[in-house]
Amino acid sequence: MRLSEHRYRTISSLAGSLLFVQRVFSARIGEVIRVLSPDGRTMVGEVLRIEAETILVEVYGETTGLDIEHTTVVFTDSVRKAPLSPEIIGRVFNGSFEPIDGAPMFIPEKQSPVTGFPINPSARARPEEFIETGFSVIDGLITLVKGQKLPIFSCSGLPSKEIVAGILTNARLTEKEKGFIVVFAALGLTFHEYSFYMKALEEMKTGFVAFANMADKPVMERLLTPRFALTAAEYLAFEKGMDTLVIITDMTNYCDALREISTSREELPGRRGYPGYMYSDLASLFERAGRIGGMEGSVTMLPVVTMPEDDITHPIPDLTGYITEGQVVLSRELHQKNIFPPVDVLPSLSRLMQKGIGAGRTREDHREIANHLYKYYARGRDLRRLEAIVGRDGMTKGDILMLDFADTFESEFINQGTLRRSIDETLNTGLDLMKRFSLGQL
């Protein structure tokens, strides 16, 4: 612990958002620094690397106008912390945790480091309580449970924004209404998207905490925003006993920011230029989801990833898929057919679904309905290829039935527009569909 702030004017080089400070007496990794520019601006930064008396600092703000002679660097002797209080509920912040909804800053109850601490694996409780998103295809076939991390894999141009807004307003727990909070973090947001989400939040009035990092903000802030959001979520979950759902959009912007910063630090690039530690970095965010045995509250995560070039093997969706417990994959084809939400059931999966459905969780017949719908739909989808070769007339009656089932399943079960469906309605829709085609003995 140092008694005073240390000020240095010993910058030796400046490049992009990085600056080197010489002859620094003592500094710590991750220490927050303030940069005072010659024109009187103050920016925040962080210590990245220490090499004897040379310190590498990353600046979060716009570095235009900094110089070597007059810029001052102040070492604050503290690591990056998030201000926390129950009053954050219902508020909208920018990517640096400053209010942008017009109301004044709240008085923090406490400060917590943004990187958090890993949950002891033996303290975790098994995720098994159902969260209703209001979308049939997710609730019925790719069920989300409390403490899970389930990403949405989207493609550019698909309505992931509308799906996120739908989940923002519709998600709830089945058994209790109180204490459910959506923490929303938007990364690299364009103004168009920003106003869309703001409208959705205004309609919600409360029950959310929002962080918006705009597209024109420095990329360093983009790496910080999800950490603020998760620190806030952990605080609400494990100190205030609330169930939180953290929605982050879009992780692709986050990963690109990570790549940009890694390159400027002259690190060795990995696949497609993304740094080799991207898996660990993403995991340090996603693994913060979970439940703790003997404690109220939970952190559930729903990140959105836009797959570059619609490619699911691209490093971003690939590494995400390795960390998360399943994925919801959107399909361009379904979107063309005007189906909303355009979720492709076949590659989608919820790994924790088995424990979260059935009697006492959703409904006794949930598992059976889900298995049957998946099986018949997969059959129908398979047969579409055959239909393309031999034509509908060349197919048996049973096969044609399957084809019709697949079409109806898409247009009536998956497709639901913006209306909310409860889990009962979802399962009844599925049941009704199977009855109509006289499938399965339920």
Partner: protein, 548 residues
């Protein structure tokens, strides 16, 4: 001997401490983070820190421990759960709360717990090196205490009764005390008399493995597969049902929730052979993806040292790691912070040699006291983008005996375990089939080859069927497609959430015998001139028999 931190870059720290040895354990900073010396230069040493270096400052003190990174070996490891540095996670939770904070030292074993010790030798007896002096009852296992360093020394005293690990179990005539536990450097393989070539099959309870790609005691298998292909579920199923005494499971850079699920399952499920709780034969080493990267690198060595310790008591131990790719990535991360020259995809050039050095710790051995123990390894691999040409998969392929390729398209069709039956192989097949032929059924070998042939033929027929439709095929080909379909859905796929999750070799043999038996029978009938539809009508009573 203390020094100071001179520089910090990611998980590596430069210190000015002199007199350190390579791979010596070091305590770094005020928080006393654990580290290991990875490079020595004239005036400085580079230390790889096993915990998050966030908040670490320049000038903070550094202290050498004088010993390399070790694990503590003794009673109480079984049914324990440890992190990559062998800190006991359960006790850590009780003391520190649900989150792991930095720099917490805690002994892996509970030194105050009383154990019942039964001596095997009496006072005055001469003890050979490695000889069992007595044993502790550790759950269902006899945990042998040996005279490790005894070179034909005589026992001058020995305890009989309840004792804790911090007390001596006895004494030799030269005054040396016999302790119930000891420290072992994790990167050093434990000694044995000799290695034995393995010829015994290891039953995993998974039909597709036991029947098509059999695994051997002391062997190594790798399971590469893209995400969602069921690597973890398959590893956990094997951990539950494999025919071994002790299972060491390493969650290496994977999900925390999975571990929570596994613990709660292992505490409720029973071992089908002994009827005891599965946790009573399991050791868990967990370093989830958000726990420090460098400790992930150490975790597999920590785990394998514990596995070898029980192997040396003459037990059959199965080591499972999920996933070895995360270990390789940790190695890459450390290597790049040391600014080493990278090879393919940024991995260090020594990836393959480190990996084969590690995999060679598996095997069937004659232990120091003449018992036979084995250590078998099953490692999952997570190739980026599901691309098997990447360095980690390729490096594993060179040293492992069974290659079980997990197939994304099978997984999408919900065929689990999604083991591709064309690409996978087992180098132990010949010995293992011989073993099953003797132990289970004389027909095993014949069935094995007919099954493979049917699957192969189906593949070539499938292309034709896609064009002309299945109705356009000849009756004999349609029959073959039908049989192959039965093999795939009723034999090879196995739901790990039902009673079918575990299949004994007898059951495996009975099912495939039923399917192929009917196939041969139907082929005969077709030759007699019956149509396929008529033959299939004959099938039902037969199928009922199979089910029984």
């Amino acid at each position: 001997m203390t020094g100071k931190i001179r520089g910090i870059s990611g998980p590596t720290v430069q210190v000015d401490l002199k007199g350190l040895k390579l791979y010596e354990r070091v305590y770094v900073g005020h928080a006393m983070l654990t580290g290991e010396v990875v490079r020595l230069e004239e005036n400085r040493a580079i230390v790889q820190v096993y915990e998050n270096t966030h908040g670490l400052g320049i000038g903070e003190p550094v202290k050498g421990a004088g010993t390399p990174l070790t694990v503590r070996l003794g009673a109480g490891i079984i049914s324990g759960m440890f992190d990559g540095l062998q800190r006991p996670l359960e006790r850590l939770k009780d003391e520190m709360g649900p989150f792991i904070s930095k720099g917490t030292e805690m002994s892996a074993l509970d030194d105050t717990r009383k154990w019942r010790f039964f001596p095997l030798r009496e006072k005055g007896a001469e003890i050979a090196p490695g000889e069992n002096i007595g044993f502790i009852e550790e759950g269902a296992f006899k945990h042998f205490i040996t005279g490790r360093n005894a070179s034909n020394k005589k026992l001058s005293s020995i305890v009989d009764g309840d004792i804790s690990l911090d007390q001596p179990f006895g004494e030799f005539d030269d005054g040396e005390e016999i302790m119930g536990c000891h420290e072992w450097p994790i990167r050093v393989p434990r000694p044995y008399r000799r290695k034995i070539s393995s010829s015994q099959a290891l039953v995993t309870g998974q039909r597709s493995i036991d029947f098509l790609f059999p695994f051997a005691r002391g062997g190594t298998a790798i399971l590469p597969g893209g995400f969602g292909t069921g690597k973890t579920v398959l590893e956990q199923s094997i951990a539950k049902f494999a025919d071994v005494d002790i299972v060491v499971y390493v969650g290496c850079g994977e999900r925390g929730n999975e571990m929570a699920e596994m613990i709660s399952e292992f505490q409720t499920l029973k071992d089908p052979r002994t009827g005891r709780q599965l946790m009573e034969r399991t050791i868990l080493v967990v370093n989830t993806s958000n726990m420090p990267v460098a400790a992930r690198e150490a975790s597999i060595y920590t785990a394998v040292s514990m596995a070898e310790y029980y192997r040396d008591m003459g037990y059959h131990v199965l080591f499972l790691a999920d996933s070895i790719s995360r270990w390789a990535e940790a190695l890459r991360e450390i290597s790049s912070s040391l600014e080493e020259m990278p090879a393919e995809e940024g991995y260090p050039t020594y990836l393959a040699s480190r990996l084969s050095g590690f995999i060679e710790r598996a095997g069937v051995v004659e232990t120091m006291n003449g018992a036979i123990g084995s250590l078998s390894m099953i490692l999952s691999v997570s190739p980026p983008g599901g691309d098997f040409t990447e360095p980690v998969t390729q490096a594993c392929l060179r040293t492992s005996g069974v290659f079980l390729m997990l197939d994304t398209s099978l997984a999408h069709r919900r065929h689990f375990p999604a083991i591709n039956w064309f690409q996978s192989y087992s180098l132990y097949a010949k010995d293992a089939i011989g073993y099953y032929r003797v132990q289970v059924s004389a027909e095993w070998e014949k069935l094995h080859y007919s099954c493979k042939e049917i699957l192969q033929k189906e593949e070539s027929l499938r292309e034709i069927a896609e064009i002309v439709g299945i109705e356009g095929l000849q009756d004999s080909d349609r029959l073959l497609m039908r049989t192959a379909e039965m093999i795939r859905s009723d034999f090879l796929s196995q739901n790990s959430y039902t009673g079918d999750a575990f299949s004994t070799p007898e059951k495996t043999c009975a099912i495939i015998k039923g399917i192929i038996g009917f196939h041969d029978y139907a082929v005969g009938k077709l030759k007699d001139g019956l149509t396929l539809e008529k033959v299939l009508r004959l099938e039902d009573p037969l199928k009922e028999q199979i089910v029984k």
